[in-house]
């Protein structure tokens, strides 16, 4: 039986071995605060865009070959694609296209790689791996199968950050970015208002803990609209988009 000090030390060693990032007193810079928020947003953008793409991809197999145009319109993305084949390729993989999933994934990496000391090598490695998986998907005969791997790695990244980052502000900043992006995309796609309301509730529970500066009135408006006891209108969705975009 060791002394209390030894046991504490052993516990500390175990924590370190597991790659925990115990930086509870770590002063967060303005730059890192922004990067964490945007890292959260971009990971969600990649994840949900892949979901949306999968849905449209399926629809276009034996249905409307121009189904992608509706998605683009809802997301206010310029339709620069010649046809569905061009869309399938460039919306996913074109590095120079700021609306592509690849582009968002690289922005995830840009934000993550400069915060290794905050999020940890283990977390960062999932974003790097997602990029490699994206490379594989680009060359693949069946890219949808490989793109599933990209989504899996984003989920693994979220799980890892939850597990290894002990600083609550850092975790909350990532999550605030993630939820903001989700509310934005879901609203643009006119998803079930109950799902949006749930995300708004999550945001309300999280945002004050992140220390980020935000507009309280806008968050309240989002909550009021998403919880309104009526069938949501197009304007309701638009109002949520407008408020979430100007929230931070």
């Amino acid at each position: 039986m060791g002394t209390g000090v030894t046991q504490a030390r052993m516990f500390e060693d175990q924590i370190n071995f597991a790659g925990k990032h115990d930086m509870e007193k770590y002063a967060l810079s303005k730059t890192h605060t922004d990067e964490l928020y945007w890292l959260g947003r971009y990971t969600e953008r990649v994840y949900t865009s892949l979901d949306l793409f999968a849905s449209v991809f399926d629809e276009m197999i034996d249905g409307d070959p121009e189904a992608y145009k509706v998605m683009l319109r809802n997301l206010e993305i310029a339709d620069i694609y010649a046809d569905k084949k061009d869309f399938n390729k460039r919306y996913c993989f074109d590095r120079s296209n700021p609306d592509s999933i690849r582009y968002s994934l690289e922005r995830c990496f840009d934000n993550a790689v400069i915060m290794r000391e905050l999020i940890g090598s283990a977390s960062l490695s999932y974003i790097q791996e997602a990029i490699y998986e994206m490379d594989t998907a680009e060359k693949s005969e069946s890219p949808m199968i490989d793109l599933q791997g990209v989504q899996d790695l984003i989920v693994a990244f979220w799980g890892m950050t939850d597990d290894v980052i002990l600083d609550e502000r850092v975790r909350n900043l990532l999550k605030v970015g993630k939820i903001v992006e989700r509310i934005d995309l879901y609203s643009r796609m006119n998803k079930d208002m109950k799902r949006i309301a749930r995300e708004v509730e999550r945001l309300q529970g999280r945002i004050d803990k992140s220390g980020i500066v935000y507009d309280r009135k806008r968050l309240q408006r989002m909550s009021d609209i998403s919880h309104a006891d009526r069938h949501p209108s197009f304007d309701d969705y638009q109002m949520i988009v407008e408020n979430v975009e100007s929230l931070i």
Partner: protein
């Protein structure tokens, strides 16, 4: 181990090559290079067959490296204060003042605890006769320790039985050594790693070391100087004093108010705070005066001058074309020597006489006569090849060793090192920027 056992051992390690390299890629173990004005990140190829150094052999290296780094620190202190070694004619003045390494701004100043070179990277090769030679001293911002650190971590997972059976010094204490080195000179406040940013060749290392030692990694935009202090500004506008900066920015870009005014990556007035003793900078600005390829020639003389000892590890036989006698020798033996431009680094500016035709040799000879301070010449050391695993085969390639010496109360030699190898069988140039790879260095316990 007999020859067959050794071969089997190497093959067993070698078979992990693909997987470990995949993992290293996943962890972002890369370095950046600029080619034709474009930044490209490249993987740093890893070979799992380590360089192995026996305990007794390393003990000699350790002693020699401590001796050398102690002398180099004394030289730096002397050059920036009394300049006695110049007055005594051991080192010619022009070798100190003519190069770009001497910083007049540092003159008369001794850094905290009298340490100039906190982290020294000393490049060595082992000759076929078993003799180690020093090839180069790196006292500014030597990089490379992170690569064997992370490789060791992964190899222990890949082949735990190897590490159970072979008693090897654990090299993962580098972060602890570095933290101690920083704490030792810290003036009170945070430890910070100052990076030029993610497009720097060694960015992986900057971020990995920041993670491992629990330091802030910053590009300087969060740092500011007020009165005699350096501060870190957080998102809420609070400030925290910074006590030590492990800067991975070269001297000229460190402070636009004191050095290159066009620098956008440094911290204005950081040097003023440093000179007033408000913050420690690791390594000290101005160290370039001691790791210049021309000054290298004089290091054994420094050891004798400051410590009254002979150098334990010799330099590679070197000629200074500045001296007439050496110049004559170099001109006469040009085709078998390697000529180095003292202003270049990273494997650039290295010319082998044997690779030049007669016309080029003549032109080069004229150049070195015209600019004798610019070049040194060395005998080509036929250094030992190391085995590496190449797609199922064991092949031999030239390799060097970068040893790291950290200065705390006294110099501490890290019991490992970065072994770099050339992938080109005809080449002696091992630098990563020239396509080389790396190995871990095992020091037997």
């Amino acid at each position: 181990m007999d020859i067959q056992e050794k071969e089997l051992f190497r093959r067993n390690l070698g078979q992990h090559s693909r997987k470990i390299n995949q993992l290293l890629a996943r962890y972002g173990v890369k370095f950046g290079i600029y080619k034709n004005g474009t930044f490209k990140e490249q993987l740093f190829p890893y070979d799992p067959i380590p360089r192995v150094i026996e305990k007794d052999e390393f003990a000699v290296l350790e002693k020699g490296l401590k001796q050398r780094v102690t002398a180099l620190n004394l030289f730096l202190k002397d050059i920036y204060t009394k300049k006695q070694i110049l007055k005594d004619g051991v080192v010619p003045e022009e070798f100190v003042y003519a190069g770009s390494g001497f910083l007049a701004q540092c003159d008369g100043f001794v850094p905290p605890e009298g340490i100039f070179s906190h982290i020294s990277g000393i490049d060595l090769v082992k000759g076929k006769d078993g003799q180690w030679y020093i090839l180069e001293d790196n006292l500014r911002i030597p990089s490379g320790a992170s690569y064997p650190m992370i490789a060791r971590d992964l190899m222990r997972k890949a082949t735990p039985q190897t590490f159970e059976n072979v008693h090897i010094e654990d090299n993962r204490n580098y972060a602890e050594l570095l933290r101690r080195t920083m704490d030792h000179v810290n003036r009170g406040g945070l430890n910070v790693i100052l990076t030029p940013g993610r497009f720097n060749a060694a960015y992986f290392e900057h971020s990995y070391l920041a993670e491992k030692i629990g330091a802030h990694l910053t590009d300087g935009s969060d740092l500011f100087v007020e009165r005699d202090g350096l501060y870190f500004r957080d998102v809420e506008g609070n400030r925290e004093r910074v006590g030590a900066v492990y800067r991975r920015i070269s001297d000229e870009y460190l402070d636009p108010m004191n050095f290159n005014p066009e620098s956008v990556i440094g911290v204005p007035h950081i040097f003023d705070v440093y000179r007033k003793g408000g913050v420690a900078l690791l390594n000290a600005p101005g160290n370039g005066v001691a790791d210049d390829k021309g000054i290298y020639y004089f290091v054994p003389k420094m050891i004798r001058y400051y410590l009254g000892e002979d150098a334990i590890i010799p330099n590679a036989p070197t000629y200074l074309v500045y001296y007439e006698k050496d110049r004559d020798y170099v001109l006469l033996n040009f085709s078998r020597l390697v000529i180095k431009d003292v202003a270049e680094a990273g494997g650039y500016g290295v010319f082998f006489g044997k690779d030049m035709d007669a016309e080029k040799q003549d032109a080069f000879k004229k150049l070195i006569q015209k600019e004798p301070r610019r070049f040194i010449a060395q005998e080509v050391i036929d250094f030992q090849d190391l085995d590496l695993y190449d797609e199922g085969n064991i092949v031999s390639r030239k390799a060097d060793l970068r040893a790291f010496v950290l200065m705390d109360d006294e110099p501490v030699v890290w019991k490992s090192g970065l072994t770099r190898f050339t992938r080109n069988p005809a080449s002696f140039v091992v630098n990563s920027s020239q396509g080389g790879g790396f190995k871990d260095t095992w020091v037997l316990a």
